[in-house]
C-alpha cells in the first residue's frame, strides 16, 4: 500500500488549483464585462459607469478572496481588520479630497459669470 500522506497532499494541491482557477476565471469575466461595455458603448453613460464601478468592486473582493487568501476565517482576522481599517482611511481621504476639490471648483466657476 502506498503512503497516505502524498495522497492528501495531492488533494490539497488540487483544491488549491481549483481555487486559483476559479479566481482567475471570475476575475477575467469581471474584467471583460466592463471592457465590453465601454468598447461597444451599447449601454447608457450612467449604466456604463455603474457596470465599471460594480465589476471593479466585486473584482476587488474576488482578488482578496482567491489570490490574497483573505476571508472571514478566524486565522485571517488580523489581515482583515488591517484591510478594513486601511479602507476606512482610504475612503475618508479620497472622498474628502474629491468633495472639497469639487466644491472649490464649483465656487471658482461662478466667478466669471458673476457680478464682478
Amino acid at each position: 500500500m502506498s503512503d497516505p500522506a502524498p495522497q492528501s497532499n495531492d488533494d490539497g494541491y488540487r483544491r488549491g488549483l481549483r481555487g486559483y482557477l476559479s479566481g482567475f476565471l471570475i476575475a477575467a469575466l469581471l474584467t471583460a464585462v466592463p471592457f465590453w461595455a465601454v468598447a461597444t458603448g451599447r449601454l447608457s453613460a450612467v449604466a456604463t459607469i455603474a457596470v465599471i464601478a460594480g465589476c471593479g468592486i466585486v473584482q476587488f473582493g474576488v482578488h482578496l478572496r482567491y489570490f490574497l487568501h483573505v476571508d472571514l476565517s478566524p486565522g485571517k482576522r488580523d489581515e482583515l481588520h488591517l484591510i478594513l481599517f486601511s479602507l476606512l482611511l482610504l475612503i475618508i481621504m479620497v472622498a474628502g479630497t474629491i468633495w472639497i476639490m469639487v466644491n472649490l471648483n464649483l465656487r471658482m466657476l461662478v466667478m466669471p459669470g458673476g457680478d464682478m
Binding site: 477575467a28 459607469i49 487568501h69
Partner: protein, 207 residues
C-alpha cells in the same frame, strides 16, 4: 496548518531562517502593503480632482490620449501573471519540485515584462504626441498615477529575478519560500491596484 498549506503561502520555519516567526513577517508585509495602498489612493484622489476642464487646461483629455486596446492587453498580461504566480505558490507549498515552481515563476516574469513593455510603449506614444506631464494638471496626475504602478511592477520584476536566482542556486529552502510568499502577496496586490487603474483611468475616462 492544512488551511495555510492550501493557500500556497505556507513555509516552514527552519532553524537556519533569519526570521524565526514567519507569521509575523507576513503580517509586517501586510502593513507595508496597506501603507502603499494609502499612497496609491491619494494618487487616485489627485487624479479624480484633475478631471475638470480647468485642470485639463485646454490640453488633451482622457478621450484624446488613452486607448482601450492597449489597456486591455496590459490588463490581460497582469491578470494572467497573477494567476501563474498563484500556480508557482501552489507548487512551492505542495513540494511539486523546483522545476515546476521556477517554470511558473519564469512565465510570471515574462508576463510582467510584457506588461512593462506595453506600458512603456503607451507612455512613449504620449511623449511623441506632446502629452507630457508638464502640459496640464490632468497629465501630471496621469503621469503620476499610472507610472507609479509601473514602477512597483518594475520593483516586483527585479525582486522576482533575484528570487529565481536564489531558488536556482539554493533550492527551495525556508528562506526562499518566505521570500516567495511575500513576493506573491506583493504581486497579487499590484494586480489589485491595477483594477483601480483600469476602472478609473481607462474605462472611466473612455466611457
Amino acid at each position: 496548518m492544512s488551511d495555510i498549506a492550501q493557500t500556497g503561502f505556507s513555509f516552514d520555519a527552519t532553524p537556519t531562517m533569519h526570521n524565526d516567526d514567519p507569521g509575523k513577517a507576513i503580517s509586517g508585509f501586510w502593513l507595508f502593503m496597506m501603507s502603499d495602498l494609502i499612497i496609491f489612493s491619494l494618487f487616485f484622489a489627485t487624479y479624480a480632482t484633475m478631471l475638470t476642464p480647468m485642470s485639463i487646461a485646454g490640453g488633451p483629455g482622457p478621450k484624446d490620449i488613452l486607448e482601450l486596446r492597449s489597456a486591455a492587453f496590459e490588463t490581460g498580461a497582469l491578470l494572467t501573471s497573477t494567476f501563474t504566480f498563484g500556480l508557482a505558490s501552489l507548487a512551492i507549498a505542495h513540494g511539486r519540485g523546483r522545476a515546476q515552481a521556477m517554470g511558473w515563476l519564469l512565465v510570471t516574469l515574462a508576463l510582467g515584462l510584457v506588461f512593462l513593455g506595453l506600458e512603456g510603449r503607451e507612455f512613449a506614444r504620449l511623449l511623441d504626441i506632446g502629452a507630457v506631464p508638464q502640459r496640464s494638471g490632468y497629465l501630471s496626475a496621469l503621469w503620476g498615477l499610472v507610472p507609479l504602478h509601473g514602477l512597483h511592477v518594475t520593483a516586483g520584476v527585479i525582486w522576482l529575478t533575484i528570487l529565481l536566482v536564489q531558488m536556482g542556486t539554493q533550492g527551495v529552502t525556508g528562506r526562499v519560500r518566505a521570500g516567495a510568499a511575500r513576493l506573491a502577496l506583493f504581486w497579487h496586490f499590484l494586480d489589485l491596484i491595477w483594477i483601480g487603474i483600469f476602472s478609473v483611468v481607462y474605462l472611466g475616462g473612455l466611457a
